[in-house]
Subunit: 396 residues, 2 copies
Amino acid sequence: MSSFHFTIDAECPDSWARAGTISTPHGTILTPIFMPVGTQATVKSVSPEELRAAGAQIILANTYHLMLRPGSSLVAEFGGLHSFMHWDGPILTDSGGFQVWSLGHLRKLNEDGVTFKSHLDGSYHILTPERVMEIEAELGSDIILPLDICAPYPCSPLEARKAMENTHRWEERALIAKERHRPEQTLFGIVQGAFEPELRRESARVIGNMPFPGLSIGGLSVGEPKAQMWEMLRHVTPELPRDKPRHLLGVGSPEDMVMGVGLGMDMFDCVLPTRVARHGGLFTATGRVNIKSSRFRTVRGPIEEGCDCYTCRNYSAGYVHHLIRAEEQLYYRLGTIHNVHFMLRLAAQLRAAIQAGTYTQFRDEFLARYVPASEQVREQQREKWKAARERQADVR
Amino acid sequence: MSSFHFTIDAECPDSWARAGTISTPHGTILTPIFMPVGTQATVKSVSPEELRAAGAQIILANTYHLMLRPGSSLVAEFGGLHSFMHWDGPILTDSGGFQVWSLGHLRKLNEDGVTFKSHLDGSYHILTPERVMEIEAELGSDIILPLDICAPYPCSPLEARKAMENTHRWEERALIAKERHRPEQTLFGIVQGAFEPELRRESARVIGNMPFPGLSIGGLSVGEPKAQMWEMLRHVTPELPRDKPRHLLGVGSPEDMVMGVGLGMDMFDCVLPTRVARHGGLFTATGRVNIKSSRFRTVRGPIEEGCDCYTCRNYSAGYVHHLIRAEEQLYYRLGTIHNVHFMLRLAAQLRAAIQAGTYTQFRDEFLARYVPASEQVREQQREKWKAARERQADVR
């Protein structure tokens, strides 16, 4: 039997924010929570011990990447992902669907599933709702997601409806197929519906009523303006059952997590904190700084005063600046640790604020202080990453 | 006053091997010892805590690289190298001379010193024996080396003599200049003489009689066959004072350290263990293996059975293989930790054997078991690294 369990510890009187506790076979997660992304069975540049020390309670790994390399059956031979990658805490795996659309080539969709060519070696693969359940059983993660279709942005209302209905049918098949595999794994449902309010509400009702112990909101943060993403959540959340944890897939930045919590989301995952760290973007209370900037060359204090991450406790901003300028590998680790710790400290602060009944005040103060990367900078980065996608296997 | 002190704890009756203890302001070093190389104030991909855990007692940093970036005066502003890089153990800095010849451009030598163009930005720099003492005082390392001339291989006997005599004059100037700086630093002398037995003996006598508390043997491992390197040490060691620690500059591999100890050397440094690790070459008792090889894909055991390094204690060879195949940064760290730990465990085993009076037996058994990389593979790697030199700043 699954030991999965979700309890609500506190709710915000002025928003949809809540603080909860999720029990899994590999330990407990206090929500709201940020999940660092370990795309290829490793969170880039950091060790499991460092993730723990930075406050990580659960990580996400990508089914698409792992099925292609090293292969899910090989991971199973090693005793599953936890043992393979030396992380004994909870793991969530996505379904691979998102990467099929963003990374795979020559995709061919039919009612049964999707055929695609691997971005690594051009080999052909087929994913069906049933096959995804089998792969995730081999990976052995604690929380698994069903195959879904992430509609592109923008897309026509008809296309959005077709993708949503197809996803719903696949999710029913996933629920059935899952019965044949590991009972200790928990299958979340995925809400789709693109940017059509009516579809979003419908998807939330349909999936919310299926016997999924938790729900992921998919198809957001795919290039739309942020206001549109929040607008969709305003339609989705009221339709969701209160007693199931809610995961906002692929989101986000510090300010996105702060906003998303108020719109009823409990779990967040995104490569952004680790990816921008590798490019020199480090989080502070007043916004993201670029540690490559020459203004850090002589700074003897830490990246952020008062930060108690490993990096800030032991290294000056000037040394971290030296490492990235010299393209030294230790930089990537120190930057990543700082940003992961920032996200997890922020999650803990959000939880404490919800428990104290002061979430909306915390949110407003945070957003007033924290200057997000401008839309222009974000657009430039998206273009850069899109180009990098062609070369690299590090997306989502 | 310097707290530098060297005592001999045991001597081998059948070779020139000895076990000793070196005291420095930042701690004690048990010899024979391998010194990991932290070229740019970081041992590539590993943290100071990981170096300690792998058994590191002293590390080496490169004056040439640090004077160019971030600059020795900046390092001084951060309280010196120890504080800058968060390593509180002993540090040895070389003189920069070797890199001027291997990396710098448009070198111009005269009696006063050497002018060269930076490999980073083409800027002009002058090194003199006096300036090097000033730079190393700013870096604040425990053991410092004087500016020397490393004759190319091969070179004429006349060229070898001129370089040696010039080096001797510079070393006298370094001794005088050093008086103006930090008394807690210890200046080693450097023995040169290229591959001329007579010059090697003369240099050992001259430098051995100057008031240096320790001696580095330079100009070896510069492309000559190994037999020729060992032949030179057979001329040098008998001329050296017994009571000063002896450092074999830029050497070497596991088999080189085992051999060098028997020829009277106490300290070793080389980028080889960390560099080959980054390319997939990992040390085991029977020789170097290539972890990229598909034969490791399904190996659930560690890289080396019985190895107690962090990598082998926590990760399968199959996972380490996955990481390097996926070009994941965590690989570089795990591989480097294994090789550094291997070198330091080997150094400890050599010390124990000397103390037990069984060094020659240990050496013969080690060399019988350990298959070194073939001369052909070594030559190929040298060519690759020479090419990489043009692009990168990671040499020596």
